[in-house]
């Protein structure tokens, strides 16, 4: 994204809209400019249509700068297969677990939203976290766009050409067994002191048939706090290969 300087009148109306504060005012020229290094190409400024002179202009993004747009703009996310090979900033993760069976009983899934909330990150910060996590032997989600950018999926190392790219957020997804939960949290606490950004941690598991939640019990046992709100897949999806099998909840009702 760029601001056409011949059109800009320096009214500063656009400045508060930028989520990463990349729009700067140049007092000597009385114009607004975009700090290209800071900009994550989310196109919020362009979509907001607030410039009275329509000075915002889209520019053709080449490789690897296109990565910024791919991870930062939800509109682009839907068509991002070209850049990362995979659609989306993350995957369907637990959202379709009743259909895909991605997380089985005994699994603990993790989603690490690097740069979130609202701080943004360079991909090299995400690499630091992924490499630290990889040392305890986890399984990175192969369909995740960030996994796709890894040159070595065993170590979590990213391709050199994308490391300096800055995005609004990106997600590291992996799964391990529930008994490794304390170990994962130790690693995350340690790496938190080494990164120059923030990251939000999500933890996923299947609910037992008796209604107990293994992750919840494990977190309470080791004294790790969690938010009172979160996400619940209510089991209405039907596995694609087994169309005749009724969904998790309807089966439950029949048995009841």
């Amino acid at each position: 994204m760029r601001i056409n300087s011949s059109r800009c009148v320096g009214c500063k109306v656009c400045m508060p809209y930028c989520p990463v504060e990349a729009i700067k005012y140049q007092g000597d020229e009385k114009k607004c400019v975009i700090d290209e290094d800071r900009c994550v190409e989310c196109y919020v400024c362009y979509r907001a249509k607030i410039c009275p002179k329509e000075a915002f202009e889209m520019v053709l993004l080449g490789w690897p700068r296109i990565i910024r747009h791919t991870f930062s703009s939800p509109r682009k996310i839907q068509k991002s297969q070209l850049e990362t090979g995979i659609g989306g900033r993350g995957t369907e993760e637990m959202k379709t677990n009743d259909v895909t069976g991605r997380y089985r009983f005994g699994d603990a899934g993790f989603t690490i939203d690097v740069g979130r909330p609202g701080v943004g990150t360079r991909l090299e910060e995400a690499e630091k976290i992924a490499m630290a996590i990889s040392r305890i032997g986890v399984e990175f989600e192969p369909l995740n766009p960030l996994s796709f950018l890894m040159s070595d999926k065993q170590t979590g190392k990213l391709r050199d050409d994308v490391k300096k790219e800055r995005v609004l957020s990106c997600i590291i997804e992996f799964k391990t067994s529930i008994d490794k939960l304390p170990l994962v949290l130790d690693v995350l606490r340690n790496v938190a002191n080494q990164v120059d950004t923030v990251f939000s941690v999500g933890c996923i598991c299947r609910v037992n048939d008796d209604g107990t939640i293994p992750i919840k019990e494990a977190l309470e046992r080791i004294g790790v706090p969690y938010r009172p709100n979160g996400k619940v897949n209510i089991g209405l999806g039907k596995p694609k290969r087994k169309r005749k099998i009724v969904s998790h909840n309807i089966l439950h009702e029949d048995n009841a």
């Binding site: 995979i86 895909t100 609004l168 999500g202 996923i204 089991g235």
Partner: protein
């Protein structure tokens, strides 16, 4: 896609913030490769985009059509497939509810029509549990938020995060919230209008405008800047 997981706020405020998302999987069970997208799915997506554009202009029409579709009798099995296909196109993939009763009613309707797509809800675990029990459903998989790690000194204040975390992709800038709060304080705009302007930045529709209105109102009274 964890955009409705890390919403901040007090229990009281979050109790009026319930979300429902309908997700049709692109994968098949036990496989890590996505399904090949046939031409028909591209056509469906294009049709969905056209329908979305239409309903963006006439939002009340979506509610009316949905109501008709949900209340249609189940009919013969071969018709159910087409009915569900239309519902998937018309029903918004991500919905925000401010009241428990509307939330329960909508989930009940989804259960009744048996779309076959996955349904994910976000909200307070205890409240969601109680709502699910009312319609005889139970959780299949859960996701907890363990909070924020790293350079938390860079985060805006908690009151600001209550508003900005409602946009899961964080397209709402804290500076914009501050500006609008100032405008509300100076009586230049109403809290409702401020919430609407913020909501426009959130493309995926996860932003709860009614909750934001209340938060902006409270924030404008608290803010000293």
């Amino acid at each position: 896609m964890t955009h409705t997981l890390h919403r901040c706020g007090s229990i009281e405020s979050l109790s009026n913030d319930l979300l429902v998302q309908i997700v049709t999987s692109q994968q098949i069970e036990g496989s890590i490769t996505p399904r090949k997208k046939p031409l028909s799915s591209s056509i469906k997506r294009a049709a969905g985009q056209l329908i979305d554009k239409y309903f963006d202009r006439f939002p009340n029409m979506r509610i009316k059509i949905e109501k008709i579709l949900f209340e249609l009798p189940l009919g013969p099995r071969f018709l159910k497939k087409y009915k569900n296909m239309i519902i998937r196109l018309v029903a918004r993939a991500l919905r925000v509810f401010n009241t428990e009763s509307e939330f329960v009613t909508f989930l009940g309707q989804l259960k009744k029509i048996d779309l076959g797509s996955s349904v994910v809800v976000s909200g307070l675990f205890q409240q969601v549990d109680e709502c699910l029990k009312k319609i005889n459903l139970r959780p299949h998989t859960v996701q907890f938020s363990l909070g924020v790690f790293g350079r938390v000194d860079r985060l805006p204040e908690e009151k600001m995060l209550e508003i900005t975390t409602m946009c899961g992709h964080h397209l709402i800038s804290p500076r914009l919230v501050k500006k609008l709060v100032k405008d509300v304080k100076a009586d230049r705009i109403t809290p409702e209008r401020a919430a609407e302007l913020l909501g426009k930045q959130c493309i995926c529709g996860a932003f709860n405008k009614a909750r934001a209105t209340k938060l902006i109102e409270a924030y404008s009274m608290y803010d000293e800047t």
